[in-house]
């Protein structure tokens, strides 16, 4: 057998078990990334696989490539409207937060390992960033629907903070390698250059890719490949001009994902798969690279570093960075806890190895332990904690995917097919009287492989296939009408929002009369929406105010405007904090 054939066999087998295990991991709630890492370690030199892999440059290349792909995909999936509540707190966390967290973790590292503070700081910087792939992975794997203020902040923070951690690591490393010269303004200039060039090229490049995406008319196969290639080129170009390639691909993805284009759904579908491939490959390689028997000697001090990061550095950094914003104590606690560390620290820990810095091996192993600890302890507890803190929203209707075909002779309309989901709003209703968008016309309904006569009079059940002629603009509404609520544990809608619904413009004085709502003198002329906006400045769905027996919960928003609130009548009257 040729060496390359053996490598292909090994890669194939490892990927195969990893992919199949995703099912099991979902069932037991174990963080999937941990599973991939574990398989890599099992295949490695201390495991049954016995493969001695110590090729740092190749691992570093694969790790960087995979990170770029994951960030590009993460950018495309970040909704710009989440910036309404998430951007400003996330910017602080992604810059100052990383700095604080690295500085405090550095103290722990220096103390636990007997290093001097600068070497400690290098370790702090290496493990300084919250990992986008780990956060996205854990949040999405549990199908968690978090309150937007928390979810958006975490997603944007983790998408933006890798460049800061990379910058810190490189800056400290270069300073150490240069023999600790006197400090000057050079690192600050480098920082400005990395971020400035990265941001400008990322946004401009993303716009250019979007312009070309539909115009090139490359077809269903090559359009997503074009986007993929463009993402890699964007990373490389930005790095060539001295900017942060990671920042550039994230921002480029953000532009592409938030501008309308026909090819976007194809691009997203390919990149979802590619991002998972990148995750698997990256964690397998990292698991292969580490030598577990060499970790044992540093396990204790490394554990102390990890605990210091989780229980002191991250919470302090989060608390400081969120001071100017209105987050509830529960929301702060959750953000502090979801500082998941993932592949970035391990990739960054290869920098000292590549540079042959003294103690580089120890630093790599410490970083590995910290990531392992964070993934297992935090990754496993994120979902239960969100539930406990009341930050999880009831499951939303999942839009049903449609199959579209263009028809000759129907300009402005497409032929769309839906399968009625379980619990879909349309299930149980008669198709002709459902209140579908007026320009959408049902053409046929199929059940059990047969077309039914007179589609308009069919009473729909889950599993029916409905075919309609519809203008493309109606598809979004139809997606929701034919979609259902996912069957998973989550707070029941009524328990979460209360039984009653009020319009955002309902007058508070009227509520005081009807329900005995206690009001301050200056609240009498307000609407219920204004009261919530005053309390939360930028309210999000799930924000709640308790007054005596009554609780008001934000239910529907249009931007910052409260459209509908839920009203909950409590059986006991005592006030609950929080």
């Amino acid at each position: 057998m040729q060496p390359s054939d053996r490598l292909i066999l090994l890669a194939g087998l490892l990927m195969l078990v990893s992919v199949i295990t995703t099912r099991l991991s979902r069932r037991i709630g174990m963080p999937i990334l941990l599973v991939f890492l574990g398989f890599g370690m099992l295949a490695g030199e201390d495991g049954p696989g016995g493969l001695a892999w110590s090729d740092v440059p190749t691992s570093h290349f694969i790790g960087s490539l995979a990170l770029a792909v994951i960030l590009f995909d993460g950018g495309m999936r970040t909704q710009l409207k989440s910036f309404r509540v998430g951007l400003r707190p996330a910017l602080g966390l992604a810059t100052l937060g990383v700095l604080f967290s690295a500085a405090i973790t550095g103290l722990f590292a220096a103390w636990a390992l007997g290093f001097d503070y600068v070497e400690g700081l290098l370790i702090g910087a290496i493990v300084g960033s919250t990992d986008a792939s780990a956060v996205f992975g854990v949040l999405h794997a549990h199908g968690l629907r978090l309150k937007e203020r928390v979810g958006a902040t975490l997603e944007i923070e983790s998408g933006l903070n890798d460049p800061m951690a990379i910058f810190l690591t490189v800056a400290v490393l270069e300073w150490l390698l240069a023999g600790r010269p006197a400090l000057d303004a050079a690192p600050l200039l480098l920082f400005a250059q990395q971020m400035g060039v990265g941001a400008v090229l990322g946004l401009a490049g993303g716009y250019l890719v979007w312009l070309l995406l539909d115009r090139l008319d490359l077809g269903a196969v090559f359009t997503p490949l074009f986007a993929f290639a463009a993402g890699l080129a964007l990373y490389g170009t930005t790095a060539f001009f001295g900017g942060s390639g990671f920042l550039a691909v994230y921002l480029g993805g953000l532009v592409i994902g938030n501008r309308p284009s026909v090819g976007l759904s194809l691009v997203l579908r390919l990149h979802e798969g590619l991002a998972w491939l990148a995750q698997i490959a990256m964690f397998l390689i990292l698991g292969l690279l580490v030598t577990p028997s060499q970790i044992v000697p540093v396990a204790w001090p490394a554990l102390l570093v990890g605990l210091g990061l989780m229980f002191a550095a991250r919470p302090l950094a989060v608390w400081l960075c969120l001071l100017p914003f209105r987050f509830s104590p529960g929301e702060r606690l959750f953000i502090a806890w979801v500082g998941l560390r993932g592949a970035v620290p391990i990739v960054l820990a290869m920098f000292p190895l590549l540079a042959d810095l003294p103690h580089a091996g120890t630093m790599f192993n410490v970083a590995f332990v910290v990531v392992l600890l964070s993934l297992s302890v935090q990754g496993w507890t994120v979902a239960p904690l969100a539930r406990r803190l009341g930050l999880e929203l009831p499951p939303a209707v999942t839009p049903q995917r449609h199959v579209v075909s263009e028809l000759p002779g129907t300009p402005g309309a497409v032929f769309a097919s839906y399968v009625v989901a379980v619990n879909a709003p349309v299930a149980g209703g008669v198709l002709g009287t459902l209140g579908l968008p007026p320009a959408s016309r049902p053409v046929a309904v199929a059940r059990g492989g047969r077309l039914l006569a007179e589609p308009a009079s069919v009473r729909l059940v889950a599993g029916d296939a409905v075919h309609l002629l519809a203008p493309p603009g109606d598809l979004e509404v139809l997606d929701r009408q034919f979609g259902g609520r996912p069957q998973r544990p989550g707070p029941a809608e009524r328990a979460f929002f209360g039984e009653w619904v009020l319009n955002g413009d309902a007058n508070l004085e009227a509520l005081a009369g009807l329900y005995g709502l206690q009001l301050a003198a200056d609240e009498r002329t307000l609407t219920v929406g204004a009261l919530l906006t005053r309390a939360f400045r930028k309210p999000v769905v799930g924000d709640r105010l308790r007054r005596g027996r009554l609780e008001i919960v934000v239910r529907e928003l249009d931007g910052d405007r409260v459209l509908r609130v839920g009203l909950k009548l409590h059986r006991n009257g005592e006030t609950v904090a929080g």
Partner: protein, 157 residues
């Protein structure tokens, strides 16, 4: 608190000729006014429609619990209507409403009113109970069902 304290047999009806939200509210207003002295159907209707303007009382699953305050009465008054065909009620889930329980409470607010409302909301979130109401047509049987309900283990959502 018992439902029988606020709902007399005469204020329960099963109707199939009602086609709009406004007509439903008029019907329950008339039912309440007919059984009580010194209250005017128009005033009841105005109170109920005033509450609907703050937000629909359609709770979802075909149930609506319109309610309001009323001057000139000393006790809470209820009325129930089952409709043959659901009417558009602006309910939270967008479904038409066919079970309507209206509640009028005295002008002066007390905690007792909130308890009645909470009790009604709990009663009508019992899916099996709602299905029994939907398959019952005689006014007297409906009244017996409504006054006989008690929370059970399977009443949870």
């Amino acid at each position: 608190m018992n439902i029988s304290d606020l709902l007399t047999a005469g204020r329960v009806a099963c109707r199939s000729d009602v086609v709009s939200k406004k007509r439903v509210l008029e019907l329950v207003s008339e039912l309440i006014a007919a059984g009580a002295s010194g209250v005017d159907a128009r005033a009841i209707f105005d109170s109920l429609i005033g509450r609907e303007r703050l937000g629909s009382t359609g709770l979802g699953n075909g149930v609506a619990l319109p309610h309001g305050r009323l001057a000139g009465t000393e006790q809470a008054l209820g009325a129930f209507v089952r409709l043959g065909k659901g009417v558009e009620f602006d309910a939270i889930d967008g479904q038409p409403v066919d079970l309507v329980f209206a509640l009028l409470v005295p002008e002066h607010f007390t905690d007792e009113h909130l308890k009645i409302l909470a009790h009604l909301a709990e009663m009508f979130s019992d899916r099996a109970f709602c299905e029994r109401l939907r398959t019952t047509s005689a006014d007297a049987d409906l009244h017996a069902l409504l006054t006989g309900w008690s929370p059970s283990a399977d009443a949870a959502l």
